[in-house]
Symmetry: C2
């Protein structure tokens, strides 16, 4: 069984959302799965000195336009959320807790949280909203939020962020295919070819 | 006659080189031409506070890998040049001088200078190299270098940089299709669709 694609992302990253809606179909076509690995982009930005995209003068304005146009281009429902960005530590820890429990709802949780924020305008920065989304998936929301507060889970997220930075992750989405790094939703065509040929 | 695509670029930008090798075929398919508009990226970076890509920690290393992989992906000859980046004010002014004279060799000059740097490792930061490349195209290299020093040409480049910044150009390549902005060589598929449908 070939290794899954490693998909490092932040729940508050628009391009992560766009790629999350497309990557599984490509992975599946090549007999692969996708391992979703939540991180906190703020920590990565400290390493590079980068700022959140929409806060960069001029480039930020273009980016908002590009989020929406790229969503239309790929046929993905998108509405720029406010507030933006939001803190995603609860959502990230909740996902790690689900994954740690071997929950079959881990991947549906990823998609539902991202869609809640980027298509439905729900504020996923609020723990109560994360819990509510989980409940809608048939997950025990209270147990999830409690689990997200466990020291072992907090530690796991911190380690995952550190690992990502150590492996060169500086933005999101950031995908590794058998150690080959691809940054950005706009590298999906290259990922597809890499999966096809092993390398190119 | 529909308006040409406006292609803002810096002669020292790898992604500008990659897109320059691909965009004319797409434009032509939709009955369009490409107007090459040289700028100096350093001036644009001052507005956004951005640094040259390869100077950004971590991201710079990825970028070098991505230049080469993206070139292979698109079937474009590429060899990371040294020194990199180089000053491109002479090349930019030379192009403006050719364009101002209505030279039919303006577009071939763009391609030959970019290929000289990114495929052949010639240092296009040196005026003598720019003159030599022009000579190889059958242009009078000495006249070109003299023309590039004319106050009117210097002023034209300055105005073009200012215009680009005023229109939101913060990086390169930056293409306008009927005022719609597209940043990056990886927006060619969106440019193609925009040309097809007017908008999407």
């Amino acid at each position: 069984m070939p290794a899954p694609l490693e998909f490092f992302f932040d729940f508050s990253s628009p391009y992560s959302y766009l790629l999350s809606e497309k990557i599984e179909a490509v992975a599946t076509r090549h007999g692969r799965s996708v391992a979703y690995k939540p991180i906190l982009l703020g920590a990565a930005f400290k390493v590079t000195g980068m700022a959140p995209l929409v806060e960069v003068p001029v480039k930020g304005d273009y980016s908002r336009r590009d989020f929406e146009r790229s969503a239309r281009f790929h046929g993905v429902a998108f509405r720029m959320p406010t507030p933006f960005p939001v803190g995603t530590v609860t959502a990230a820890r909740a996902l790690l807790w689900l994954q740690g429990n071997g929950s079959a709802k881990s991947v549906p949780f990823v998609h539902k949280v991202l869609r809640a924020y980027f298509a439905e305008g729900r504020n996923i920065g609020e723990p109560a909203v994360v819990g509510q989304i989980a409940t809608e998936l048939g997950i025990d929301g209270a147990a999830l939020l409690a689990g997200a507060q466990e020291p072992a889970i907090k530690d796991r997220l911190k380690k995952q962020v550190d690992e990502a930075i150590a492996r060169g992750v500086f933005g999101a989405p950031f995908v590794f295919v058998d150690q080959e790094p691809f940054w950005g939703h706009d590298r999906l065509d290259q990922i597809d070819r890499w999966l096809q040929y092993g390398s190119f």
